[in-house]
Symmetry: C2
Subunit: 554 residues, 2 copies
Amino acid sequence: MGSVANLQTWQEKVDWARAKRDASLAKVEPKLTGIPDAADSLPLSSQDLPKTVLTEREIEITEQYGIVQLLGLLRERKITVEEVTRAFLRRAALAQVATNCLTELLWDQAIARAKHLDSLPEPRGALFGLPISTKEHHGMVSAASANVTTSASFVAWVGKPHEGPNLLYDTFWNEGCVFFARTTQPQTIMHLETESNVYGRTVNPYNRELSSGGSSGGESALLGMRGSILGVGGDIGGSIRCPAAHVGIYGFKPSIKRIGTAGFRNVGAGKETIQGCPGPMTVDRDGLELFMKVALAAKPWRIEPSLTVKEWTPHKFTKPLKIAVQWWDGVVKPHPPMIRALREVADACGKAGMEVVDWDCTGLDHQKGWDILSALYWPDGGKEVLGLLKESGEPILPLTKFIIHEQPTVKEMTQHELWKLCVERDAYRTRYAQAWSQTASNEDGSGEVDVILCPPSFGAATPHGQSRYWGYTAHWNLLDYPAAVFPVTTVDPALDAKDLDYVPKNEQDKFVYDMYSPEKFKDAPVSLQVVGRRQEEEKVLAALGEIERAMGRG
Amino acid sequence: MGSVANLQTWQEKVDWARAKRDASLAKVEPKLTGIPDAADSLPLSSQDLPKTVLTEREIEITEQYGIVQLLGLLRERKITVEEVTRAFLRRAALAQVATNCLTELLWDQAIARAKHLDSLPEPRGALFGLPISTKEHHGMVSAASANVTTSASFVAWVGKPHEGPNLLYDTFWNEGCVFFARTTQPQTIMHLETESNVYGRTVNPYNRELSSGGSSGGESALLGMRGSILGVGGDIGGSIRCPAAHVGIYGFKPSIKRIGTAGFRNVGAGKETIQGCPGPMTVDRDGLELFMKVALAAKPWRIEPSLTVKEWTPHKFTKPLKIAVQWWDGVVKPHPPMIRALREVADACGKAGMEVVDWDCTGLDHQKGWDILSALYWPDGGKEVLGLLKESGEPILPLTKFIIHEQPTVKEMTQHELWKLCVERDAYRTRYAQAWSQTASNEDGSGEVDVILCPPSFGAATPHGQSRYWGYTAHWNLLDYPAAVFPVTTVDPALDAKDLDYVPKNEQDKFVYDMYSPEKFKDAPVSLQVVGRRQEEEKVLAALGEIERAMGRG
């Protein structure tokens, strides 16, 4: 490939990036056969594609095992790392054809790594042989020792080397994982969908007319195709939880500073008003806890000193959970399948002996929260990011316009305006925390609500271009509360009829209401979200376990 | 007293504030006798004044007991709260005459509170009956239910009510303490001395020609006179540690967000770049831990959600301490008594079996740290604070000019300039953390330096107006490392001769070198500082205990 430095137009740079991606996919051996050539002729759902393309053994390896089980087989050497790696590499390549979720397949590096691990006299590390997929803007200079693409979806950064180690990825590498695929994210990494000028649009593996969510929507599409078993996303407004929810996998957003972001390539470096946090996206619940445990056992705060000094400390409940159900956020009414999912899970929890109460947040004014948050995303008025788009000349996509130009709160602030808004943010957080504390029956906090059960989105995956309401995920970023999403059901037109009598309360509510018809979303996964108080990551995952057990899951 | 609203000039407002203070002091009963009338005729050291003014019993109560011991007597009702309260009230009034450390004596409120506590059928609370003094800009609306002064030393705020509860003080109140005195701070609360237009200058109780330090220099003067046993300060550049060190008491600055600042009155609300943290100033080491334990047992994060979710978790060393001695910071050479104190304590630690190594930080460029920090104190170029001074017309004091106008780094920044500087700050912190981690002999961190032993200032208390080098305390604010100061020795001209051969390395070094002559500082307390890694508050206090035991203290 030629150097990107000589390219003139943004389109040429895009061609260069896609050629690099395609070259990485061309390595796949044996070639994928049995799939239609063009996207036009692909089925609406990609869920049946693997059967016609992959071998039985590949399907067994990629579908039959949970993360812990697969790690057990690898550690006992009942299966080689290379066989596992090759199976996921081929399935990831198929996921790319089906959903356009990859920026790069790390074929050579992954196989070399697998062979190395297989050659060790003893298996070593908590992630020995586990394939891990990674979001493209997460630099991984030292871990993979590979010249991976890290353009963060900005055409201006295509082909521009990114430096600096990624502590999280180095940790996983030291624990024996295999990095094998890099995944797409949207322009600016600030959409709840995944479309960029560099790689185009990523689609939902359950329905190509729906989004895989965003911004970690390459990961979700890949995991939703079971082309990966554990992926790394990041979340500043829903970017782990929204895509995980849209494909029916598990996702977890910790409070900020629990997991580090060193080595990530992004705009807004040094901005402190609202921050994101990396987290796991996985095919099962165990994967969430494994990710956290391994990441924190390395004591990352010794190297990245802004991180919270706290190893993973599993939480044990000593009495039945007290769950508050947020049926809606007071701004936008969820679609019928989401309300059904809430009811089903709340009923199961009640039957299992938990205390289930309502989380009525109308008095807490979530809209006000969004007004604060949307302004704090861009204290420079979006100047930096818009400048970067202008630098290459790439077009500004509609959802970029939505989150910058169409938010009336966004403007370049003076320091004093910024301070004032941070005071408002802190006052809002305080009001919310106090409302939570007031659920306690005793002064010491016992009898307090343990977790909030709520939608991770107004509905199932949205049709492309329509993810224009962030409230169900972003609110917990504003508050910095940890939150996990988990799959519950799928849209069933027989159960999820449109409520024809509902009168929308405002414009956003109307936009979301008008979007719904059961047929449009048929069979799309519907997920829920468990939210805990700030820095109570361990409690959230423990609560998720209790809730799933109440649902009859192991 | 008339309303402040009708006053025209800043001097009239000052007179109003001082009259309010004086009226509170006029309540003292019996009146103080046996002291010279005017400050001019006061002795250089105030340490012998109590003997001629207070009763033997008052001296016993205020001098003879440590905090834990006094609490024991109170809890067992071997002494009444009222007797203790009256003794400290009178001694505080004497401290005011001697050092000008008070903004208000809470005579009526404290005695009413004491009577109430004495009337309870059972003693109640971890701080039952303990007198606590508080820095003036700490609002305490709900706790004391008193209309206390909270002008934060700004003439513009004199007489202007301050609202909002102070969670920390409410906690102490709920645990049974008695608030009895409010103490001075300097203009802007950003000097390492204590002088304001509102209350004038606070002086050192060991030598009135020296400063009591700042910004919590009212507390230090009061505690240095034993007019209080436990005070609350705050620290963003040394404001607890510098004054504590200058009067030979104990002080502790936690990492930010361990103790809350809700209810404080100050400029810079909403500024996140560098933040302060409240902490204890006490007559003994036990008081430091008591403060932290009680403050955190209340789980303040349930109400003030930005706080770190972590109760006090005492640290136990399982092997001898590894201490790194920072003999100087590479910028300004400490005065001879400070170097002697370091040597004495390092020797004692070595003899007690600890591993003592050098902390050579010349490669870590502390000057660069100051350049970042001094800019981050005022991202608005000082506009807000200077505007507040202008509003009343009060003169800008020299040490205000020093920390704003004379710092070449200070300027009003755009958001992008601020982000860039925060990135530099984080990179600096990372370099420092990595240097610390590299002291470990093993990858898991064992064998790592536990704490740094270093000066809390270039020397003993400075002559007034000369606290123009913050490096020895402020550096740990930049890094957000917890740090405790403790008394070690006093300046002894026989031991602490000036090094006449020393050639200063730079202008600041020369300024500090030229300041020293042993006679000027004779008998002034000399203290040291123990610094730990970020968020390792418990470890720092445990290390301080080990070090003091090595010094032969109980």
